[in-house]
C-alpha cells in the first residue's frame, strides 16, 4: 500500500513535468563496525528534503533524478555524498570523524558544512559539556573554546558570569555576546534588585543542549547586525531521531569545598599588632602611655584596650581565652544532587525529545543554594513532503537562596573582618552583634534573614518550514522568552537592616517578555560547472518589555511572619515598565566553485528603539572567502596533507547593548516631603546610535596525516568606532555623564587550536585538544583630547586610558615602608624623579600599574579510553592579568583599624633599618592603606578544571540486563589551582561593582568551588 502511495506521488511529480525520473531509493547506513546507524540525516543535495535512518539504519527516500546527490550526515561521522545514478539501493558506511570538517555547523538562520565555512565559528557538542556539576553552561565550556574568556564573579551559585569573545569592544555598552536559543534571542541581563548580578542563563538545563556554536568573526556574526559585535552564541537543543525510543537516566551526587582560604591573625597576634598600632599612634602624637602612666587616659592605647574589652565579650582577651576562626564560619560543607531523565525517538514523520531535570547545588558560602527544575519538549513533524512544523518548549524553575553582596557586612565572607578575640555567641547562646563584634555579625543574617530569588523561565518557539520548490524553503518562526522572577527578602529583628525598624520585608516581581517573529527563506541551487549557490534572506522583529513591581514593609510582629502582609507599615513601593524593539532585514549569499573556492556575503539592516531619531537604522555588511587548498592538484599528491583551507573575512557588526531611551533628555519622578517632584535625569543626545566594530579575520584550517593532526590558526583585528561612551562631563553642568558615540577601541589577537589523535587502537585511544589565544585590547581614543576616564573612587583603580587596555589599574605606585620611620612610601613617578619616593600620597603621580585583561588564555584537554574506561582531563589557564584587592585597605592595613588582618601584616616595620613592604602599624593613621599598587597582584593561574573518569559497562553484560548503556563516572571540578595570587581565588571580579571597566577586583569575594561528584548514567 505504502509503495503504491509512493508510486502515486511519483506519478504526480512526473505529471508535473518538472521532475522527470523521480524515484525511490532504499538502503542502509552503517558505522565503521558495520552496525546499523540510526538517526543519520539523508538529504537531497541543494534541497531541504531529507529523511532519517530508522533504528536499524534503514532508510527510504524519493529522489527527483539520477543526477540527484544524496548527502549522508551524522554527528561525529564524516559526511558522505553519493550520486544516485541508476541505483535504487544505496548502502553507505560512515567513518567516524577525527576532525569535524564534515560536520554540520549551525550558523545564523541556517546551517553549513564545516568544510565550507568561511567565517570563524567554534562548535561544541553535547558530550563536551553534559553532566558538568556547575549551575551554568558557561562554566562548563571554560577553557574549551579558543578566544573566549569566561570568568565567574565569585563563588556564589547562580550569579554573574562574564564572557568576552575576542576581547571587549565597548566601554559603556554591553560586552556580552548575543545568545540565541533555538532561534530566539534570549534575555541575559541580570534582573537582580541588588547590585550583584544573577545569571538568567543559569535557568537553562544544559543537558538539553545538542550543540553550541560561537560566532566570532564579522563574517559569521554580521547576519546578527547591530548585536553581533561581541560575538553570538547559538544554542541548539536536542531533537528526536527516528527509531526506537531511547531513555537516558542520569544521577549525580557531589561535594564542594572552597578552592582557597586566606591566613588571618589569631587572637594572640591580633592583640600584639593592635596594641603596637595604638602605642605607635600615641608616640606619634607625643604621648607615651606605657612609660608614662599619666599619658594613659585618653591615649590610643587606652582606646584600643577598651575596644579589646568590648570585642572579647564574656571572655578575657589578656589570656587569649577566645580564638575564633571567623573564616571557617563563612563556609559550609556543600553538597549537590542532579537527576536528569530524557527520552527521544520518533517515526519517519514525527520525532520528539522530552526531558526532565532536577538539580540542587549548595554554594560553598553558608546560606547559598541554587536549585533548578526543568522540563522540555521538542517536537518536529513532517506533515507533507513540503510542509514541516514543530515546536520547542522548555519550562524551568530556579530557586536561588542568595547571600548579600560582597560589599555588605551581611555577606558571609565579611565575617573575616571580625576580631579573633570575639566569641561567636554570648553566654545565653545568642550570636554576638555590635558593639561586641567589630561590625555587624553576618551569622545573624544567616539565621535571621532570607533572600530567595525564584525564576520561572519559559523559552519556546513554533516554526513551520515550507518547500516552495526544490531548493527554496521558507521558514516562519515565532519565539518567546518569558522570564518571571520573584525576589523575597526578609530581615528579622536582629539583623542589620531589620533592627531599627522591627523587621523588614521586601517583595519584588519582574516579568520580562521577549518575543521574536521572523520569516526567512533559504535557497540552495547547484548550478552547472560545479557552482553552488546558497541564499538566505528574511526579516525579524523583536520586542521586549520589562515590568517591575515591588513593595517594602517594616514592623513585623514575629520573625516567622515574613510576608509583607504582616508588616505594620508599607514604607516603599514602585512599579516600572521599560521596553525596546528591533526591526531587521538580513541576507546572506554563499557561492562555492568546484568545492574549492568559497565566497560569502552577508548583511543586516537593523532599526532599534534604543537610538535617536537621527540615527535609527544601521547597515552591517560582511564578506568572506575561502580556498580549499587540499582540493588543488598541487596538494592532492601530498599525502601528509588531508585537508587545508585558507579563509579571510572582513565586515562590520554593531553593538546596541545599552539601556533603553539613552537618546532622550529626560526628567524622572522624585518625591520630597510627600510631594511629588521632577528632576532631570538625562541629557539628550538625538544622534545616539550603535557603535560599529569592523573586523578583519584571516585563518587556516588544516588536517594532516589522515586528520590525525588537525587544527585552526586565526589572526584578527577588530576596530570599534563611535564607541558608546558615558562621557564624564563637568559636574558643574548638573550631570555626571552623557552617553555619546565617541572614541575608538581595538582588539587584536590570534587563536590557535590543535587536535591530535595520539593513539588509536581498538583497546586504547588517546586524543589531545589544545587551544590558546592572545587578545590585546587598546583604547585608541576617547572624547577629543580626553585621555582618561577616572574611576572616581578612592578605593579602586580601574580607569579607561587612551593607549591602554580597558579597565587598567591606574594609581600610585607603592614603595613599601620608609626604613627610617616606617612611613608608607610611594614612588613620585614624576618626570625626572620617577624612582624618588614620598610619604605624601597626593604628591605621587598616577601611573598604569597593571591590567585586569589577560594576555593569554587557553585549555588543554586529554581524553583517554582504555577498553571500557575513559578519562578526560581539562587544564585551563589564564595569564598576564592582575587582580586588585579592594579589601586590602581593611584586611592588610598594618593595623589601621580593628578589622582582623592577614598574617602577612606581621611583617610590619618595627624599628629603623627594617626593610619591608608593610609600613609601621599605626591605629587610625591610614599609613599606606590608600588604593595603590600595594594591593595589586598577578592573577595568572593554571587550573585542573575538569577531570572525569568513567566506566562503561560492556554490552555483553548490558544485554542480559536489557539495557542499552550503563556508565559510572566521577567528575572533579577545580581540583587543583596553581597561582601566586594570595587571595581566595584568582578567578574573581567582585559582584557589587563588576562592569566593563571595573574588572579584576576582589572584595571579600567568595572563591570558586572545588567539587567532586559521582554519577551513574543508564540508557535503555
Amino acid at each position: 500500500m505504502k509503495r503504491k502511495l509512493l508510486m502515486f506521488f511519483a506519478l504526480v511529480f512526473i505529471a508535473s513535468g518538472l521532475w522527470a525520473q523521480s524515484r525511490a531509493i532504499t538502503g542502509k547506513v552503517t558505522d565503521e563496525t558495520g552496525e546499523g546507524l540510526p538517526g543519520v540525516t539523508i538529504q537531497i543535495k541543494g534541497t531541504s528534503q531529507g529523511v532519517f535512518t530508522d533504528a536499524d539504519g534503514q532508510y527510504r527516500i524519493t529522489v527527483p533524478s539520477a543526477e540527484s546527490i544524496l548527502v549522508y550526515s551524522f554527528v561525529g561521522f564524516v559526511t558522505q555524498e553519493s550520486q544516485v545514478g541508476n541505483r535504487t539501493n544505496i548502502n553507505i558506511q560512515l567513518m567516524p570523524s577525527v576532525t569535524s570538517a564534515g560536520e554540520l555547523v549551525v550558523v545564523g538562520y541556517g546551517s553549513q558544512i564545516k568544510q565550507d565555512l568561511t567565517g570563524n565559528i567554534v562548535s561544541l557538542k553535547a558530550e563536551q559539556i553534559e553532566n558538568t556539576p556547575v549551575p551554568n553552561f558557561q562554566q562548563a565550556i571554560q577553557g574549551r573554546t579558543a578566544g573566549v574568556f569566561i570568568e565567574s564573579e565569585n563563588g556564589k551559585v547562580g550569579q554573574g558570569i562574564k564572557m568576552r569573545i575576542r576581547g571587549a569592544t565597548s566601554i559603556t555598552g554591553s560586552n556580552e555576546p548575543l545568545y540565541v536559543i533555538d532561534g530566539v534571542p534570549v534575555t541575559t541581563q541580570s534582573q537582580s534588585s541588588s547590585s550583584s548580578q544573577t545569571s538568567p542563563l543559569a535557568d537553562i538545563n544544559f543537558n538539553d543542549i545538542e550543540s553550541l556554536e560561537i560566532l566570532k568573526d564579522a563574517s559569521a556574526a554580521a547576519i546578527y547586525g547591530s548585536r553581533g559585535a561581541n560575538g553570538v552564541v547559538i544554542i541548539t537543543t536536542k531533537k528526536g531521531k527516528a527509531g526506537n525510543t531511547r531513555v537516558n537516566l542520569n544521577i549525580q551526587q557531589g561535594f564542594s569545598r572552597p578552592t582557597g582560604k586566606k591566613d588571618w591573625l589569631n587572637a594572640e597576634e591580633y592583640i600584639e599588632l593592635f596594641t603596637e598600632a595604638a602605642y605607635n599612634s600615641d608616640l606619634l602624637e607625643g604621648f607615651d602611655p606605657i612609660n608614662n602612666p599619666a599619658d594613659y587616659p585618653g591615649s590610643w592605647l587606652q582606646f584600643a584596650e577598651g575596644r579589646f574589652d568590648r570585642y572579647s565579650g564574656w571572655s578575657d582577651w589578656r589570656n587569649n581565652e577566645t580564638d575564633t576562626d571567623w573564616q571557617d564560619l563563612a563556609f559550609q560543607d556543600a553538597t549537590s544532587t542532579l537527576i536528569d531523565v530524557s527520552a527521544s525517538g520518533g517515526s519517519d514523520k514525527t520525532s520528539f525529545y522530552i526531558s526532565g531535570s532536577y538539580s540542587d547545588q549548595d554554594g560553598i558560602l553558608i546560606g547559598n543554594n541554587f536549585q533548578r527544575t526543568s522540563g522540555r519538549i521538542n517536537l518536529d513533524h513532517q506533515a507533507t513532503d513540503k510542509l514541516k512544523f514543530g515546536m520547542n518548549l522548555s519550562l524551568a524553575r530556579t530557586i536561588n537562596d542568595r547571600v548579600a553582596d560582597d560589599n555588605a557586612f551581611a555577606t558571609p565572607l565579611q565575617l573575616v573582618a571580625l576580631a579573633p578575640i570575639t566569641p561567636v555567641r554570648d553566654l545565653n547562646g545568642q550570636l554576638y552583634d555590635r558593639p561586641t563584634t567589630t561590625y555587624y555579625n553576618g551569622l545573624i543574617e544567616n539565621e535571621d534573614a532570607e533572600f530567595i530569588t525564584t525564576v520561572f523561565r519559559n523559552i519556546g518557539a513554533v516554526y513551520a518550514t515550507y518547500n516552495v520548490m526544490p531548493g527554496l524553503k521558507v521558514t516562519a518562526e515565532y519565539g518567546i522568552d518569558l522570564l518571571d522572577q520573584n525576589e523575597d527578602r526578609f530581615w528579622g529583628k536582629r539583623t542589620f537592616t531589620g533592627q531599627s525598624v522591627d523587621g523588614q520585608g521586601f517583595s519584588r516581581w519582574v516579568r520580562v517578555l521577549n518575543n521574536t517573529s521572523k520569516v526567512y527563506a533559504n535557497f540552495d541551487k547547484s548550478l552547472s560547472n560545479g557552482h553552488d549557490l546558497s541564499v538566505t534572506a528574511g526579516s525579524e522583529y523583536q520586542y521586549s518589555s520589562t515590568d517591575v513591581t515591588s513593595v517594602t514593609g517594616t514592623g513585623f510582629a514575629v520573625d516567622d511572619l515574613k510576608k509583607v502582609a504582616s508588616a505594620a507599615e508599607i514604607t516603599g513601593g514602585t512599579s516600572t515598565l521599560t521596553q525596546f524593539s528591533f526591526l531587521s532585514y538580513f541576507a546572506r549569499v554563499n557561492y562555492k566553485i568546484n568545492n574549492k573556492y568559497l565566497f560569502s556575503v552577508s548583511g543586516r539592516v537593523d532599526g532599534s528603539s534604543r537610538f535617536g531619531e537621527n540615527e535609527r537604522y544601521g547597515f552591517f555588511p560582511a564578506a568572506s572567502a575561502g580556498w580549499i587548498l587540499s582540493e588543488e592538484s598541487f596538494l592532492s599528491d601530498v599525502s601528509a596533507v588531508s585537508f587545508m583551507k585558507l579563509r579571510a573575512s572582513y565586515g562590520a557588526t554593531g553593538n546596541a547593548g545599552i539601556g533603553n531611551f539613552g537618546h532622550l533628555g529626560l526628567y524622572g519622578g522624585s518625591a520630597y516631603a510627600g510631594d511629588s517632584g521632577l528632576q532631570p535625569t538625562q541629557i539628550p543626545n538625538p544622534d545616539l546610535t550603535w557603535e560599529t566594530t569592523k573586523q578583519f579575520n584571516v585563518g587556516i584550517d588544516f588536517g594532516l596525516f589522515e586528520d590525525r593532526i588537525s587544527g585552526e590558526i586565526d589572526y584578527y583585528v577588530k576596530n570599534t568606532e563611535d564607541l558608546l561612551l558615558n562621557v564624564p562631563v563637568p559636574g558643574t553642568s548638573g550631570f555626571n555623564s552623557q552617553l555619546q558615540n565617541i572614541g575608538e577601541m581595538e582588539n587584536k589577537g590570534f587563536e590557535f587550536v590543535l587536535n591530535t589523535s595520539n593513539v588509536r587502537t581498538t583497546d586504547f585511544e588517546w586524543n589531545t585538544s589544545f587551544n590558546i589565544a592572545r587578545n590585546r585590547n587598546r583604547v585608541k581614543a576617547l572624547d577629543g583630547d580626553q585621555e582618561l576616564i577616572d574611576s572616581g573612587s578612592s578605593r579602586w583603580l580601574n580607569v579607561v586610558k587612551v593607549g591602554e587596555s580597558i579597565g587598567v589599574f591606574y594609581g600610585r605606585e607603592f614603595a613599601g615602608a620608609d626604613p627610617d620611620n616606617g612611613d608608607a612610601l610611594w614612588y613620585l613617578n614624576t618626570p625626572g624623579s620617577e624612582r624618588e619616593t614620598t610619604n605624601d600620597f597626593n604628591a605621587a603621580a598616577r601611573v598604569v600599574l597593571g591590567d585586569p585583561n589577560p594576555d593569554w588564555i587557553g585549555g588543554l584537554t586529554n581524553n583517554f579510553r582504555f577498553k571500557d574506561f575513559d578519562l578526560s582531563i581539562l587544564l585551563q589557564f589564564v595569564t598576564g592579568n592582575q587582580i586588585y584587592n579592594g579589601g586590602g585597605g581593611f584586611q592588610s592595613a598594618n593595623g589601621d583599624w580593628f578589622d582582623n588582618q592577614t598574617r602577612d601584616q606581621l611583617n610590619r616595620w618595627q624599628q629603623p633599618g627594617d626593610i619591608t613592604m608593610v609600613p609601621q602599624a599605626r591605629l587610625a593613621y591610614g599609613n599606606g592603606v590608600q588604593a595603590s599598587s600595594r594591593y595589586l597582584e598577578d592573577g595568572d593561574y593554571l587550573r585542573l578544571k575538569n577531570v572525569t573518569l568513567g566506566y562503561n559497562v560492556p554490552s555483553s553484560v548490558l544485554e542480559k540486563a536489557n539495557l542499552r548503556s550503563l556508565r559510572i563516572y566521577m567528575t572533579g571540578i577545580n581540583l587543583a589551582t596553581f597561582t601566586n595570587y594570595s587571595g581566595w581565588d584568582p578567578e574573581v571580579n567582585t559582584d557589587y561593582r563588576s562592569s566593563n571597566i571595573n574588572q579584576g577586583n576582589d572584595f571579600y569575594s567568595a572563591p570558586q568551588a572545588k567539587t567532586l561528584t559521582f554519577g551513574l548514567n543508564v540508557g535503555f
Binding site: L472, S500, T554, S670, A671, G674, P684, W897, G926
Partner: protein
Amino acid sequence: MDVKRNKMKKTVIHKFLALVIAIGLASCDDKLDLSPAQSIDEGQALTTDSNVKSVLVGAYNDLGNGSLFGGNILRDSELLAANGEIRWAGTFNGPREIFNKSMTVNNADVTGEWLQAYSAINIANNVLSAIDVVNAADRDRVRGEALFIRGVLYFELVKFYAQPYSAGNVNSNLGVPLVLEPTRAISEDSQVPRNTVQEVYNQVISDLTTAESLLPSSNGIYATDAAAAAILSRVYLQMGDYANARDAAHRVITSGNYSLTNTYAGAFNNDNNSSEDIFAIQVNNQDGVNSMNTFFSIPSFGGRDGDVDILQAHLDLYDPLDDRLDLFYMGNGAMRSGKWNNQFGNVTMVRLAEMYLTRAEANFREGTNVGATPLADINRIRNRVNLPSLLVVTLPDILLERKLELAHEGQAIHDLKRLQGTADGFAYNAPEMVYPIPQREMDANPSLVQNTGYGN
C-alpha cells in the same frame, strides 16, 4: 532546453523576491517608536505651571540628598573640626580622610557633595529659566525658593572647596565655578572656570537677599523669607560683617513665627518641624534620608555602628548642670550625641537658637543692643537648659555658648574658620582644611585649578 532553464530560474528568482518583499512589508517602522514609562521629555517638564512646581520639589529633594543637607555636609563639618572632641570610629575611609585632614583627590564624599550640589543648582536654574510659565500669583514664591536653594548651596560649596573668607585675599583666592543658567547641552561652554571667593559670596548674598524679598512668611515646610534671612545671617557672620549678620538674625527673631522649644531635647529627633526649626530637610520612612542618624547614631536607632564617638574633652566643656549634657548617652561602646536618634526624623538646617546666638555675638562685637542685649540673648539660651543666668557676658562666653548649643549640628568647622581657630594642629587656613577639587572634575574640566596641596 536552455530557454526552459532560464525561464525556470527567472520564476524562482521572482518568487524569492516577491517573498522577501512580502516579509518586509509585513513589518512596520512605527514599532520602533517606544516611549519611556517613568520619565518625561525635558521639553515637557518645563512647559506648565504644575510641572515647573514639580521640578522645584525635585530641587528640594536634591537639597536633602544624603551628600548634602541629608547629613553628610553637616557630618563633615564636625569631622574637620574634631579637635579631640569627637573621633571618627567608622570603617568608611572617606570620612576618615576628612577627619584626619588628609583627603585624597578622589575622596568619595568630597566628590559626592560637589556633584549633588551642582545637580541641585542645575534644577534651580531650570526652574528660574521657566519662571514665566508659573502662575503669576505663585511666581515670586517659586522664584524665591529656587534662589534660596541655589544661594544655600553656593554658600556650602565656597565654604568647603575654597580658602575661608577670614583668610583674606577674597578677590584672588579661588572659589567655585558659578553656573547660573540651566544646562541644555554639553559643549565647551560647560567647562566653567572657578570664580573668586568674593564673587561667589556676592552671588550668594544676591540670591538670598532676593529670595528673602520674594518669599512669603508662611510656606509650609518649604523655604520662607525667614529661612533666607537666617542663612543670610550665617553668610554675613562668615564674612565678619556683623552688622548685617545681626540685622538678618534679628529679622528672623522678630518675624514671630518661631519660638524656642520648651526643652532642649524637644528641638531634636522630630518627625515634624519643631517650633524652633526655621528650615529643615523633611525625612520620613518613604523618602528623604537622615545621614546624621546613619553616622552619629547606633544600630538600635537605625544608625551604623556608632561611627562618631563623643570624647571626654567635649563633655568636659559643659557645666554639670547643663541639660544639654543629658542628651549624650553611652551606646555601642562610646559616648554618643543624642541629637540624631530618629532614623526618619527631619534634619534641621537652621533653628531659632542660632539666631539669638548670632544676634548676641554681632551686637556684642558692634557694641549695639539691637532687639536685646547680648546678655539677654545668651541668658535666654542658658535658661532653657537650666543654667543660671550670667550677670555679665564676654565674647568667649558667647562663643562657648554657641559651640555647646549648636554642637554636632554641622556648624563646627565654619565657626572655627571664621574665628581663625585651629583643629588637630591645623590652622583655619591650612590647605589641609580645604577640600580638593574632585579628581573626576579636574579630569572632565581642564579650566579648573586645583587647590593648594593636592597636586596639580
